[in-house]
């Protein structure tokens, strides 16, 4: 894959490290077991567009957000975290 880092431009995927789904927030301490378990262990695993975090480890070192189609790896958008929506 080629991922377009919003800070460095298009780079090979080997420069990046995957960081899981974007937009998840840890529930508060008193949210209860179900909410906590959902957050920790249940993911959408969608077929199609997926918003996710990557860090440009062998580049600028900055976390970015990527929208990638899980079916064919077509990347529709990349940008700084929180700004691709």
């Amino acid at each position: 894959m080629v991922i377009k880092c919003p800070f460095c431009g298009p780079r090979a995927d080997v420069e990046f490290v995957y960081g899981g789904a974007a937009g998840l927030t840890c529930p508060p301490d008193d949210a209860g077991d179900t909410a906590m378990t959902d957050y920790l262990y249940r993911r959408e695993n969608p077929i199609g567009p997926h918003r996710e975090l990557w860090v440009h480890r062998h580049g600028c070192g900055i976390w970015i957000e990527v929208e990638r189609n899980t079916l064919n790896h077509v990347i529709t958008r990349t940008g700084p975290v929180g700004e691709t929506r």
């Binding site: 894959m1 490290v17 960081g19 920790l40 975090l53 480890r57 976390w63 975290v81 929180g82």
Partner: protein, 991 residues
Amino acid sequence: MRRPTKEDVGALIDPHTTLDFTFDGKQMTGFQGDTVASALLANGIDLVARSFKYHRPRGIVSAASEEPSALMTVRIDGLEEPNTRATQALLQDGMAVQSQNRWPSLEVDVFGVLNSASAFLPSGFYYKTFMAPSRAWPFYEWVIRHIAGLGKVPAEPPTGRYERTFAHCDVLVAGGGAAGLVAALSAGRAGARVIIAEEQSHLGLGLLPETGTIDGMKPWDWVGKVVAELTSMPNVRVLRATTVVGLYDHNMVTLAERLPALNTAEAQPRQRLWKLRPREIVLAIGSIERPVLFENNDRPGVMLASAIEAYADRFNVLAGRRAVVATSHDGGSLTALRLKKHGIDIAAVVDSRNAISADVAAALKAQDIRCVTGADVVAATGRRHVNGVRVRLRSGDVDMDIDCDLVALAGGWSPNVHLFAHTRASLGYDADLGAFVPGEAPLHVHSAGACHGVFGLADAIRDGLTAGHNAIAACGLTPADVVMPDITGGHEFQPRPPVGLPQGLNQNRVFVDLQNDVTVADIHLATRENYGAVEHLKRYTTLGMGTDQGKLGNLNGLAVLADIRGVEVGDLGTTTYRPPYTPITFASVIGGDKGEQNHPTRRNAAHRLHAEANAHWVNAGLWKRPQFYPQAGESDLEAVNREVLSVRACAGIVDVSTLGKIDVQGPDAIELLERVYMNGFRTLPVGKGRYGVMLRDDGMIFDDGVTMRIGETHFIMSTTTGQIQQVVEHLTRMLATECRNLDVFVTNVTESWFSCALAGPDARRVLKGVTEGIDLSPTALPFMGCAEGVVAGLPARLFRISFSGELSYEINVPSDCGTALWKRLLAHGADLGLKVYGVESMGVMRVEKGYFVVGREADGRVTPDDLGLGRMASKKKSYIGSAALNLPALKEPGRRQLVGLVPVAPGIKVPRGATIVEKGVHEGGAPPIGHVTSQVFSPCLGHGVALALVAGGRARMGEHLTAASPLEGGDVVVEVVDPVFIDPKGERLNE
């Protein structure tokens, strides 16, 4: 046999340069430019292999990478490569070529007896037959593997260089035939950066047999002109003997290049694997001729018609004297006419169709070539080599025998869709061609010519120009002025639908896939046993597996299957095409990444000094760290014991530069620390440090270390050696997501500092003599205090922290001052008994103190409470992991907890990695209740000590358990004790 040299034939050989080689030990000669296959044919060798399963005699079938049979072990200059396709390997002087899968020899192969038993050895035979007893399977497998198979892996690693290389270009043209050449030409003239890769060692070989003219030139001369222009362009790179082997996501393409001079020692690599990222890809990889199915269609002497012609055209080699052409389209007859011109007698053209084109019929007649229409070749005769064919008219059961020593298979042409299919784009079935063609093209991929289903010279060239034009436009370049050349003569290409198999064949002798010995009978069997879906068929019969991946056999196999199931081939679909298109060597995948180049080696500032002190090295991540410093005559354990006792009695220094150091600065720095550490940092005064533990989201321990507050908004955080990258990214991730409003900068400063720990009861006395501007008294610089000043004449940060349990100072100086600090400390401390110690000795002391280590005790499955740190976790704040700590599973009483273990009997070690079970009950398999995480010999206590995680361990103090370790030689009874073995009150480190 080789014809006497004539000027206009043998385009690729130089008959003036003779090369010596051996085949199975027999001395032979060939010419410069020969392939191994053409040289063998020139020497009259027809039997070149024994088949995979039945050990049937096999000959050369093709002239390219689709070859299923002629796989050889080729040895030159100490390099041995098995399963080399003789049709692709260039002959070299001194080459030793050996046939495979035969014993004792090709001619007399004892396993050939399997052939007569082949009716009893259908697909799945081994698995059905050798079911019982199941424990005998390893023996059966050993026997079967000795009988079946291809070449053997050489015992020695390959000599010479293999290389990986990376490149970019605007347009990659895969295939250097007519379509590929014009696509590359138009892209090159438009100024695009072009790479054109051709699998054969020459471009445009497919145009050799063409009879018409291009722009008034012979087609082969036109090829020469185009190649000369391409070669002269600085923006075009021509790669010969280079196969495009894989298309991957986002235009990643891999190419396997075979360098011509295989034996040029070190000067250039033998093979090169290209990883290429073109903007646009033009696929022009042509088509593959389909074999015709009949009994014994695998006999040496049965070859693709196009291959017979190729050997004559390119190498001046005639594969036989008298040929029968088996075909079902006009192309077969046209090939027959050209073969006759080359000097091969044509015994007959056998065409399954009832009628052929009038002009072709007339041409055959003019050459006095017999043409049998409405008939099929139903069998080849001859045991070791074809000596004739049996022909049966479709109108009746009239058989006739025709003598010949060569059978030319011309079953039609299949577009080569392998690379297109790597993109996962769909294929369509073209009923006229009887083959699959590319469907809708994915972005950036342009097919052209025969692989696009566009046949015939003029049409292919037109298609190549279109593809080139589209690729250039997609690159945003202005297409250059390349006009369609003027083409005369040649024949119109006529597609032909496949014709069903003739009736009444012995299906056990009709080979669909030569490399895997898959017959028509096997496909029938698979269907009967409900493996009639294409993917099932492939796995059950191995049809289409092996080094050729069914390039010749797949479509015929699908046609047979469709016939059995009464459906169209197009409705069956195909199996998934996966890279690589042709096999590539592991050596080329590895390239230079081996031995010392496998990964970088990191050496810290004082590396040379450690080496001079006879350090024994240990790898920590990519770092080399001194493990201990053995003296003459000392065992490893003696060296470690000496170092530990010396530190505990006097003082020692250890290099801790590799520990991660992160500079955290900014008005909100404290807020970040509060969020990532489970314990509080808000009350930490400037000039003091605090030990902190980080958790993951799920409540498990992630990392630990001391963070010093060296300014109101300035902190130095330390991390485990192997985790620095992860911790930095953990922090930056927080700052990019939930803590994005915080004003903090996080910088990895590990490599900017050289750090060593000076530890031992005499540490202060040693330090005092070399320190300026820092008050070292316990009140001014207490445990967990920090100060800046000058140590040994160097600017230094002094942290009073300890990993040994002794009074200890971590001295940090800029990296380039590291060697000076190390030398000056040792010089100054020599009289006071200061010695160096390594990380092994440091590890012994930390186990004696019961300190946990990330990766050992904290293995990603332990909570703070498991390690006895439950009370350290703040109750006043929310931090990463705090919510998860409330989950019931993390509070279960039976969780494994950190304890110490000592052997009950004197003088025994606790076995490494032992499983803990209840004492005495493990015979017969008691459930494990824990495991040893670290074990050392404690020189201070004089016996072995261990740290372990044991279920409910803290409530088991004084209990006797068994540490079971079959690997380390048995069981040891241990007593559960407190994990802090030395100085439990911490008096020494607070001194």
